[in-house]
Amino acid sequence: MSTVSAAAEISDRFGAFGGQYVPETLIPALDALTEAYADAMRDPAFTKSLHDALTHYAGRPSPLSDAPRWSEKIGAPIWLKREDLNHTGAHKINNALAQGLLAQRMGKKRIIAETGAGQHGVATATVCARLGLECVVYMGEEDMRRQTLNVFRMRMMGATVVAVTSGTRTLKDATSEAIRDWVGTCEESYYIIGSVVGPAPYPRMVRDFQAIIGTEARAQMLERAGALPRTVVACVGGGSNAIGIFHAFVGDKNVELVGVEAAGHGLDTPQHAASLSKGRPGVLHGAMSYLLQDEHGQIHPAHSISAGLDYPGVGPEHSHLRDSGRATYVSITDDQALRAFHMLARLEGVIPALETAHAIAWIDANAGRWKSDEPVLLCVSGRGDKDVAQVAETRILTE
């Protein structure tokens, strides 16, 4: 074990962002994780078991679908990277499977996770059932109300879902509660963080586990479209599906990367979740990154119709991609996302997650922006079954 935590070294930052701002108790656990992760990735037996699980259990590679009717509307070919078709219905399984296998390799028997929309909670519960590990998922009370179906799914697979009643009762507070659990149980528990957030090594490790989205999509684009995309678009809450699809394209200088944040009721109101557009750098949940906060450094509650984007922070690598100019971050309101949700269902027979609907809405709002030979690649991060009941309550259904 190193004297100064290996993960705290400059290489585990993304420019000025990231780091390991945690209580001292967790430093040895993070050091052990950093080492175990590096060791696992060098072990062909581990990478093979991960590859096998992704292929034969999660259903990878996920397809790349064309979207003929929507493409006609936009005036450019749109391609859909179908993470919604993975087992459990979202990209979250890529990371949960990998970290679950890592936890098993480290000899941990108890898994902790936080969840917002419930997709990461479901993915984690799924992996724990398969690997025979105890699973405790922290979920905000408000999110449990919004995402009842996912709560049932987690419980069906044997997970304990703990309602978090502090603060805003959403993802932020669920994450804090999961960290508190880990501070008390780090010797026997493994914390599977669901996004590219948290202290090092999590942002980089989760990025690596999600990078398969972009690796596959890049090869599929070259094969199917015969070209790289002009623009890659993904929604950003914590930002794991976005980093996952961006990563393979970062070196392709002509490929534009666009992350879409939740503008909630609008960026001119206090009710949004656009940390990169409206926040400023600060420290939350172990990392330096853009945050929604007041002038005194208190975290400002986020708002989004989509529980998965309802988070006042963002992964540190996104903060770096923003400041370096390599990626562009835009935002979409609740109403725009709801309209896009219906639009894609009707035009393409794909019901997207409300999170993904934000990315769809941005492309839709920019019809005519691309030439007919400039393909656009969208990460369909998850499917919308979980959102149908919530969407049915809104007025837009009647249109």
Binding site: Y21, P23, E24, R180, V183, C186, V283, H285, G297, Q298
Partner: protein, 256 residues
């Protein structure tokens, strides 16, 4: 001022009683009454907590006191005003998460010193996590107090001892702040290891709430930190917190 306090305690063969309160809890007026009352009840050092919206190292009692204080508009500068107004004779350590300190601007440590603060302790800035910012704390006018956890290996303890000032805060057990029926079995060994690499006074906190526990830990360490128990008592009445503090003082003074 922390050094003087600990030297005089050592000379007198006494153990330090470090008391934690959340600034602005239960409200501003009673918070002021409370910190003055704790000084009179025999506290040697006061840790004044800056309330934070997302206190990941804290259990339910301090979480709730932080939320109460924030709802009434308490801020880091509000805490400094409170400290200045209290005009205490004992040293004050500002206890904060990093984000409110960053937000308070580059001259915040100087403002804190002016308000009468002697030391600063940051829950989520472990040794080596951010050398540039740690250097800023180290070069400032306050003693930068560092924490050691039960999971901290010996070589990190050495590093923490080297970078720490004032005293070292040893966390007694795994987990967040809060009262416990029993002390961790590993505590004597942790104190012994830390003592072998560290010449600073060692104060033990987390989970200490009763006079019996104070006495037990006081026999092993240079001082104890009591937080949640005082905060919980203060939520009922300032007097209850003062009475508890007097009983802790009396128990510690039985340690020879």
């Amino acid at each position: 001022m922390l050094n003087e306090r600990f030297s005089s305690l050592r000379a007198a063969g006494r153990r330090a009683l470090v008391c934690y309160v959340t600034a602005g809890h239960p409200d501003r007026a009673r918070s002021l009454e409370l910190i003055r009352g704790l000084e009179d009840a025999g506290a040697d050092v006061l840790e004044i907590g800056v309330p934070f919206s997302d206190p990941v190292a804290d259990g339910p009692v301090i979480q709730s006191s932080s939320q109460t204080a924030l709802e009434q508009g308490m801020t880091l500068d509000g805490a400094l005003e409170l400290i200045a107004e209290a005009k205490l004779r004992i040293p004050v350590v500002l206890f904060s998460y990093l984000n409110p300190i960053i937000a308070a601007g580059p001259d915040v440590l100087v403002r804190a010193k002016r308000a009468g603060v002697s030391g600063v302790l940051v829950t989520d800035l472990p040794v080596g996590a951010d050398p540039e910012r740690e250097a800023w704390f180290g070069a400032g006018p306050l003693d930068f107090v560092r924490l050691v956890a039960p999971t901290t290996p010996r070589d990190r303890m050495e590093l923490i001892a080297k970078h720490g000032r004032g005293f070292v805060y040893l966390i007694s057990r795994l987990g967040v702040t809060g009262m416990q029926a029993e002390l961790a079995k590993s505590l004597p060994a942790s104190i012994e290891t830390l003592r072998s690499v560290c010449s600073l006074p060692i104060c033990v906190g987390f989970g200490i709430s009763t006079p019996e526990q104070a006495k037990t830990v006081g026999a092993l360490a240079d001082g104890i930190v009591v937080g949640s128990a005082i905060v919980q008592a203060a939520g009922r009445s300032v007097n209850e917190a003062v009475v508890l503090t007097r009983s802790l003082r009396a128990a510690l003074d039985e340690v020879k």
